[in-house]
């Protein structure tokens, strides 16, 4: 048993280890009340920088307070394994760094990375002109360097992936911006952090192309009333316009600084 679970590829820590204990932990839902130093409809400030990974075709780094992700795009390259397809294939892979969460993140233990990958894939796949890339694969690799809630990861991942694809010069219908919301009772808070998500009844993630005013992905989990979900989507769509402006600004300034 011990033999089969032993990971031969990596440096393994001690057999038994414990995450650090903090004083302010386990505040019993206080996260919802206390953990907010911004307005309910404000999102965290975004730092977005395209073109950081020099080996990749295109890349982007995004930081929204404690959510930090790096995204690299490779391709379009020839799909070797699949059968002939008239359209291109988009392949999204998400990995959590071992130090990205409070508790050490062992590789391949759970399916959260794949769940995030599917959500990001869904958000950006309809924005790419895949019919222009027959027989080809576009690879998007996302590394979560610091994680502050899955919802924030999916939203930031979609933003970073779309920026990296634009940086890679891959034809797409429009830039995809994304925003998350959490609901508790009648209160809606945008761009929740991990503690707020834990205390919330439900969450909504919206991805859209503000330039075309079309929605690419809506992802709702938990208990949210129909009215609440619609209200969340409306608020998120408004914030996506702001996010889109950040993306446009970062792409234009990175292009201006290119030789």
């Amino acid at each position: 048993m011990a033999q089969s679970t032993f990971d031969r590829r990596r440096v393994n820590g001690p057999e038994e280890s414990f995450p650090p204990v903090f004083d302010d932990e386990d505040d019993g839902g206080l996260g919802w009340v206390a953990m907010r130093n911004r307005g309910a409809e404000d999102i965290r400030p975004i730092f977005l920088q395209p073109g950081l990974v020099s080996q990749a075709n295109g890349s982007a780094y995004i930081e929204t307070e404690n959510t930090k992700l790096a995204c690299a795009v490779y391709g379009p390259r020839q799909s070797k394994t699949t059968t002939y397809s008239e359209r291109g294939r988009l392949n999204v892979e998400v990995k959590f760094a071992p130090f990205s969460c409070v508790r050490r993140r062992a590789p391949l233990r759970d399916a959260e990375d794949r769940a995030v990958a599917i959500a990001v894939h869904q958000s950006i796949v309809s924005s790419i002109c895949l019919e222009l890339f027959p027989k080809s694969t576009i690879d998007v690799f996302i590394v979560v360097i610091e994680n502050d809630g899955t919802e924030g990861c999916i939203a930031s991942g979609s933003i970073a992936a779309s920026t990296a694809l634009a940086d890679a010069g891959i034809e797409m219908l429009g830039l995809v911006a994304s925003c998350s919301a959490s609901v508790r009772g009648d209160e809606i808070r945008l761009d929740p952090v991990e503690k707020e998500v834990a205390a919330a009844d439900g969450t909504v993630i919206l991805a859209c192309m503000p330039a075309l005013s079309s929605v690419t992905n809506v992802y709702q989990s938990g208990r949210v009333s129909a009215q609440g979900a619609l209200k969340c989507m409306e608020l998120c769509q408004g914030r996506c316009i702001d996010v889109h402006a950040v993306m446009a600004q970062s792409l234009l300034s990175s292009r201006a600084s290119m030789p």
Binding site: Y74, K135, G174
Partner: protein
């Protein structure tokens, strides 16, 4: 026509009158012309396009350069490394094949692949079809297409002496190749 940089999804301001044909990097949707790449649209004759400085997969009629990697009596396998003048990143070559009937335009049934190509030759060709799941179909059936660089058995770079022979400058031996006509002749 402004010369500002456009982002994907941004509408393109078009002058009044007949609309231009759209090239790469632009698309029309719901009556609006929008950009699909980051860049400045420019006219190339009647076509309005955002120039693509990034390498892209081959399409039909693409001019490709590649290295012959494998020979069989029916076809030569080529690793495509340059598409339309843009080099692909290392290790991301596309695979193409030159079938024996696509080597030259005349006497197709007399073609012997071994007398037209050798492993390691650099060839210039055009893509005739996206082919099957594995490879693109390439043709060299034109005067300006064929082997553009080859080394002899002695290891020296050979020079073409006719459209189907090359000579080694070191030993003077003639080797058979389907040569491309040099551009400056």
């Amino acid at each position: 026509m402004t010369s500002e940089t456009l982002l994907p999804g941004q509408p393109v301001a078009l002058p009044l009158g007949p609309s231009p044909t759209l090239g790469a990097g632009l698309y029309a949707k719901d009556g609006h012309v929008r950009a699909s790449l980051v860049g400045v649209p420019r006219y190339e004759g009647p076509t309005l396009a955002i120039s693509r400085a990034r390498p892209h997969p081959p399409t039909t009629n693409s001019v490709v350069l590649g290295v012959v990697t494998r020979l069989s009596p029916l076809q030569a396998t080529v690793a495509i490394s340059v598409v339309d003048g843009l080099p692909l990143p290392a290790g991301e070559e596309f695979t193409g094949v030159i079938r024996s009937q696509d080597v030259r335009a005349t006497e197709k049934d007399k073609v012997r692949i071994g007398e037209c190509f050798r492993g390691g030759d650099v060839i210039k060709g055009t893509v005739i079809s996206l082919g099957d799941a594995r490879s693109y179909y390439i043709t060299t059936a034109r005067n300006d297409l064929g082997v553009i660089f080859a080394t002899s058995e002695a290891g020296a770079t050979m020079e073409p002496v006719s459209w189907q022979a090359m000579r080694c400058p070191r030993t003077g031996r003639i080797e058979k190749r389907k040569c491309a006509k040099p551009e400056n002749l």
